[in-house]
C-alpha cells in the first residue's frame, strides 16, 4: 500500500485480503480496485474464489487479513447491513429473493434504508408514512419500468420463471440506489436472448445511472464485450488484472483455463 486509500479516486479498494476456512485457503492476498466509472469482471475456473471475494466485499465473510475500503471508508469490520446502508448492493448466484412477496414488495423492501419514518408512524399509516410510501413507490415504479417488469409487478416472485427472478433480483439491488453493484453470475442459466437483455440492462445501469459494476461471469463473450477491466482468479490468487485484451493473451490465464502448454505425455494419438 503506497498511500492512504482515502485519497484515491476509487469506489472500491480491496487490499491484500486473506480468507481461509479451516485448512482451505479461499483467498490468498487478493487486491482489487474498482474506479468510479468502471465495469469490472471477475473470472476464473470453478473454486477459484470469485464468490468468496464478493462475499468478503459485502460482509458475509470476514477476511482474516487485509482491508476493504468503500468510497474512501474502511468497511472491513462493518456488518452486511451497514455496508448496504453505505450503498453496496449485490445479487446472488442462486437467486435469494423474498419468495413470499410480490415483485413490487421485494423492491419496496429494498427501499428500507431510504425510508425515514419509524414503525409507529407506519402503524398509523398517516401523514409522513403515507407520503413516504407513495414517494418510494414512485421510485420503485421507475425501476420496474426501467427493467420492463410491469407485467410481473404484483406476482409473487416464488412462482416466477428463473429469468424473471434474476431480473427481480437486479431490480431489488437497484432499488437500494447503490453506489456499487455486485453481480454474482447475473446470466447463469439463461438463454442467448435473456443474456442479451441482461447485458443491455447492465450497460444501461452503468451508462444511465452511472453505477460502477463488479460482476462474476462465465460467459467469456459477455465479459469481453462489456467489461472495462477483467480480474482473473485461480486457486484464491489473482493471476491477471487488466483490459480484456491483455488478459486474453496472458500466459498464466491461458494456463489456468486450458492447462499446461507442454506436449501430452500419454503418447496416444486420436
Amino acid at each position: 500500500m503506497q498511500q492512504p486509500e482515502t485519497t484515491r479516486k476509487s469506489t472500491l479498494a480491496v487490499d491484500n485480503i486473506f480468507l481461509s476456512f479451516g485448512g482451505i485457503q479461499a483467498l490468498k492476498g487478493v487486491s482489487l480496485e474498482v474506479g468510479e466509472k468502471e465495469i469490472v469482471a471477475i473470472i476464473g475456473p470453478n473454486g477459484a474464489g470469485k464468490t468468496s471475494l464478493l462475499n468478503s466485499i459485502n460482509g458475509f465473510y470476514r477476511p482474516q487479513k487485509g482491508r476493504i475500503f468503500f468510497n474512501g471508508l474502511e468497511v472491513t469490520n462493518l456488518s452486511s447491513h451497514r455496508r448496504a446502508q453505505l450503498g453496496l448492493a449485490r445479487t446472488f448466484q442462486n437467486i435469494e429473493l423474498y419468495t413470499g412477496m410480490t415483485t413490487l414488495d421485494n423492491l419496496m423492501a429494498a427501499r428500507h434504508i431510504h425510508m425515514k419514518y419509524n414503525f409507529l408512524w407506519g402503524a398509523l399509516y398517516f401523514g409522513k408514512a403515507h407520503d413516504e410510501e407513495i414517494r418510494h413507490r414512485r421510485v420503485v415504479e421507475d425501476i420496474i419500468d426501467f427493467l420492463e417488469m410491469e407485467a410481473i409487478r404484483k406476482k409473487v416472485v416464488g412462482a416466477l420463471p428463473y429469468g424473471k427472478r434474476k431480473l427481480v433480483e437486479l431490480g431489488r439491488a437497484l432499488a437500494l440506489e447503490p453506489k456499487l453493484l455486485l453481480l454474482d453470475e447475473p446470466m447463469a442459466g439463461m438463454n442467448t436472448e435473456e443474456k442479451e437483455d441482461m447485458a443491455r440492462f447492465i450497460l444501461d445501469i452503468y451508462e444511465e445511472k452511472g453505477i460502477p459494476v463488479v460482476l462474476i461471469e462465465h460467459d467469456m463473450g459477455v465479459v469481453m464485450d462489456i467489461a472495462d477491466k477483467v480480474v482473473v482468479l485461480d486457486f484464491g490468487e489473482k493471476i491477471a488484472d487488466g483490459s480484456s485484451k491483455e488478459v486474453k493473451s496472458n500466459p498464466r490465464v491461458i494456463k489456468a483455463y486450458l492447462g499446461e502448454e507442454e506436449p501430452a505425455q500419454t503418447g496416444t494419438k486420436v
Binding site: F92, T99, G122, Y125
Partner: protein, 354 residues
Amino acid sequence: MLPCGTFNETYAQDMAIVRTRLQWGLFIAVMVGVLTLPLYASGYIVSTTIATGVTLIAVLGLAIVTGYCGQFSLGQAGFIGVGAYTSAILMTRYNMPFLLAVPAAGFVSALVGLIFAVPSLRIKGFYLVMVTIGAHFIIIWTIVHLPKLTGGADGMVAPWASIGGFTFDSDIKYYYFVIPVVILMTFLAKNIGRTRAGRAFVAIRDNDLAAEVMGINLFSYKMLAFAMSAFYAGIAGALWGPFLGRISPEHFSNLVSVPLGAVWLLGMVIIGGTGSILGAVLGTLFLRVLQEIVSAMTPIVATQFPALERFAPATFGGILFGLAVIVFLIAEPRGLSHRWEIFKASYRLWPFSR
C-alpha cells in the same frame, strides 16, 4: 386483481385497503353489526365475542412475530399472563386507573418479550421454539413464586375496568370497551404489516441473508417483532383479566383446555394463513367457533355416551383442534386467507373462472 370497471389512477388508490364502493358498504355493515351486537344478541354471544376479541389481539401479536417475521413462538400465553398480572397488580396494589394500566401492561410485556428475544439472533427454527417454551415456563414459575405480588398459585382478583367514575361491570358494558380496542389493534397491525417494518419482517422470514444484504438490521428487527408481539399479548392479558374476574397461573398455561393457550393461538395463525392480518382474524374466528361447539357438545356427548364422559371436555377439544390443524396443513397450508383470495379472484372473473 381489481373488480371489473375499477381502475387505479393514483398509487394511493392502489395502496388502499378498502377500495370499491361495495367494500366500503360491507365494511360499514360489519362495523355497525359488531357495534350493535349487544342490542339483539344473547348474553352468551356477547361474552363469547369479548373472549374472541381478546384472543384476536393475542393472535395478531403472534401473527406479527410468527406469521410476518417467521420466528416461531410458543410463549405467547406467558406474555398474556404478564399483561394480565401487570394490569391487575397496578390496579389493585397501586391504584392505577385502568386506562393507564392497559398500555402499561403492554409495555411491561414487551420488555419481558425483548429479554427472551435476545437469543433469536443466533437461534432459529426448532431451537427458538424451545426457547419460547422455556420463556413461558419461566414466566409462570415467576408468577407462582412471587405470592406477595401475584397471590401465587391461588391467583388474584382482577378488578372490573373503570374509567373515571364509570365501571364496566357487566359484559355488555365491557363489550363497548374491548371491541373498539380490538378494532384499533387490528388496524394498527394491518398497517404495520404493509409498511416499512412489516416488509422488513417478511424479508427476514423469507430470506434472512438477503434481508441483511439489503440493509435490514436482523437483530433489531427480530427484537422489534418479538416486542410488538409481546405488547399485543400484554394488551390482550390486561383485557382478559377483568373479563375473568380472577386470574391464576392456570389461565395462562399452554394446555389445550385453556382457550388462550399458545398452541391454540399458533393454530389460529396457521389455519388463518401466515403473513396476513385477515388470516389472523379468520383463523381466530374459526377456532373460537370450534372451541364453542366443543364446549356446547360436551354435556350432550357425556349424557348420550356415558363411556366417553371421562375423556371430555379437554380431550374432545384437543382431538378436533389437532384434526383441524392437520387438515389445513395438508389441504390448504396457506390458510383461510389464501382461500379467500382465490374466492375473490374467481368471483371477479366469473363466468370465466370455474
